[in-house]
Amino acid sequence: MKNTVATVTVIFLLLSLGCDSNPLYFRLSSDYFPISPAGATWEYTIDGGGSRIVTIVDQTVVGERPCWRLQSGADYNYWINENGRLEKYEDHTVLFNGFEVPIYQAWITMFQWPLANGMTFRDSVSAQAVSQGVTLSHTWIRNQTVAGPEVSPDGVWSDCYRIHQEEIIINWIQTAGFAPETTTSVRNIWLAPDVGMVMMQSADSLITLVSFTGGEE
């Protein structure tokens, strides 16, 4: 009996010494991409000059679904965060003869909650449209990998998840003189708990959050 007691005691002592605590419950309860309420504003600086302001404008309906409208510079984009997933309204166009030809519009899942280190997402779209008698084809592939938790590169935000995003777009104007045109963009996005995107790094730009104001519920 005494041996058993000693063994159990040693196990508890080892547990108490070797335990690795991290704020897992905090991360689970945090919103890593807040898209409400209206009025919330993120102000970013762009490396090399300039700034970008992102604001939650209001609620609206797009593609027959209620969503939140965000303004980023002069552009609007639309988001839904419900049922454990963040969805973005993708509006893809192909430039042909000076016109932006709409080719694909739909809600696509951006992330599934909760995020975890090593999580992967892959989304792809293949679509065609005919404009001025010419067939335009469009292929879009997005691969995302989640890493973390980690501190943002500027050292300001802890418990961030880094999203490594690779986007491949292949547009093909199927007429004489045109070949498939492939564009690949790679970026890293750091998401902080209850703040959202705090940093984005791509081959030609680095944007960093300088201020965040939550809106009023």
């Binding site: 002592l13 897992l24 419950y25 599934q112 090593g118």
Partner: protein
């Protein structure tokens, strides 16, 4: 470290008792607070061995495992493993139908999140629980107990609180 010493003392103290009570307990767990927003309610199962200091007072060790699924038909799963020291006090230990009691537990919780093919770093945190039991006889030497527990994983920055509904079967053994 101080709390580990308390556990050690509780274990050593049990050496002097002569009757043990073995319990298997199953439970449904409901997370309290935002940490369970994307997780379903959990299921838990635990094994406990208590020594009887007196018919009313008992203390011992136990281990419980709990698993939570994804609340939205996704691929997330969350698991907890809780080795703990426990103590309980019952008012009418030989009551056939109604033997009310209270239980407390203290130990460590290993928490692990897996989602979308990824796994977050696991966390070891201190943990406590307190609850009430309605204990009754199933025919000697078997007894059963229904209970409600409030428990909390004392994690950094935000605790993992939960509410638990339990049903357990126990048997006393003379050593």
């Amino acid at each position: 470290m101080f709390k580990a010493m308390i556990l050690m003392l509780a274990v050593v103290a049990t050496v002097w008792a002569g009757t043990a009570d073995f319990i298997f307990e199953g439970a449904g767990i409901t997370p309290i607070g935002g940490w369970g927003e994307n997780l379903s309610n959990g299921l838990a199962g635990g094994l406990y061995a208590n020594w009887l200091f007196s018919p009313k007072l008992r203390a011992g060790l136990g281990i419980e495992g709990a698993v939570f699924g994804d609340a939205n038909q996704g691929s997330a799963s969350f698991t907890q493993l809780k080795p703990m020291g426990t103590a309980s006090f019952f008012l009418r230990p030989h009551g056939v139908i109604f033997n009310p009691g209270v239980v407390v537990g203290f130990g460590y919780c290993r928490s692990r999140l897996a989602s979308g093919g990824g796994i977050d770093p696991e966390s070891w945190d201190m943990f406590w629980r307190a609850g009430i039991r309605w204990n009754f006889s199933l025919g000697s030497p078997w007894r059963a107990g229904l209970g409600l527990d409030l428990e909390s994983v004392i994690a950094s920055e935000k605790p993992g609180d939960a509410f638990k509904l339990t049903f357990g079967v126990s048997r006393e053994v003379q050593l």
